[in-house]
Amino acid sequence: MKIRNGEEAQKSGLNMTSMIDVVFLLLIFFVMTFKIVELEGDFSVRMPLAGSDSMTMDPTDLPLKLRLQADEDGKLTTMSLNEISLGTDFDQLRANVVQLIGTTAPAEGEDGPEIEIDTDYNLRYEYVIRSITAVSGYKDGNEVVKLIEKIKFAKPRR
């Protein structure tokens, strides 16, 4: 007697192997190329070459002068704003800028105050950015209060 095993339902399952292979390849690709994006922003500096500016300079409208001095390792040792020594305290610098330009000074547009940064050649760039941050404004809660927007650099000291 022949007994057929007919009830054995053939499962029509798809072969997943190739799909899983491809999917894992994709996953590895995305994991390897993944990089956490750090948000970046700019400090704008408009610096035409000296002498090329057609505007006549008003001698009473001189920029504030910020002098940054460094030691041999490029670490900030002293800074002075218009010859006023401030040590290395950036909060002090910001307070002095507020005092000098006043809180009601027009900070925006071409008429705003200007600052010239004069640094030692080997000063680390990080300190320059910190000083630019201090003179550009401050955060009041979530609001940014702007102070000086016109920033320029003095000639590099070699």
């Binding site: 095993n5 948000l39 700019d42 640094t119 760039y125």
Partner: protein, 145 residues
């Protein structure tokens, strides 16, 4: 008469949850992947500032200069020094002029390493100024702390 089926059962695991998870991971990485990474350079670690915000409108005609810690300048994948940068800038300006724009329309984006010398950055600015470039952007990392 009882006839036993000789079929050997393969111990197949259920792959569904794994495939679900893998697809979720792929979706996650696909959404977060950023192909606009060409602006960054591994040799540059930017300083940070609390005041900057990512620009809402991208800068027009950016010339991106990376300044590495040793003062070497990277422009469009080529390495330059402050002395040779002029050649690289002239190439970039030729492209901008070919598009019918003037030098004043170009924006020089300086991505300098936080420990590089400020003087090296000033030298870069000086060389760019000599090419009549006047709009500079000092790129820094946003600091939310």
């Amino acid at each position: 008469m009882k006839v036993k089926s000789k079929k050997v059962d393969l111990a197949e695991g259920d792959l569904t949850p794994m495939i679900d998870m893998v697809f979720q991971l792929i979706a996650f990485f696909m959404v977060l992947i950023n192909f606009a990474q060409t602006e960054s350079n591994d040799r540059v670690k930017l300083p940070s500032s609390q005041l900057v915000k990512p620009p809402e409108v991208p800068l027009e005609f950016p010339i991106i200069l990376h300044v590495a810690q040793d003062g070497e300048i990277i422009l469009g994948g080529d390495d330059y020094t402050a002395e040779t940068l002029r050649v690289g800038l002239q190439k970039e300006l030729a492209v901008i002029k070919a598009e019918g724009k003037t030098v004043e329309d170009a924006n020089v984006v300086i991505r300098a390493h936080k420990d590089t010398s400020a003087g090296d950055v000033q030298e870069v600015i000086r060389v760019a100024q000599e090419q009549k470039l006047e709009n500079f952007a000092l790129r820094v990392k946003e600091d939310n702390s």
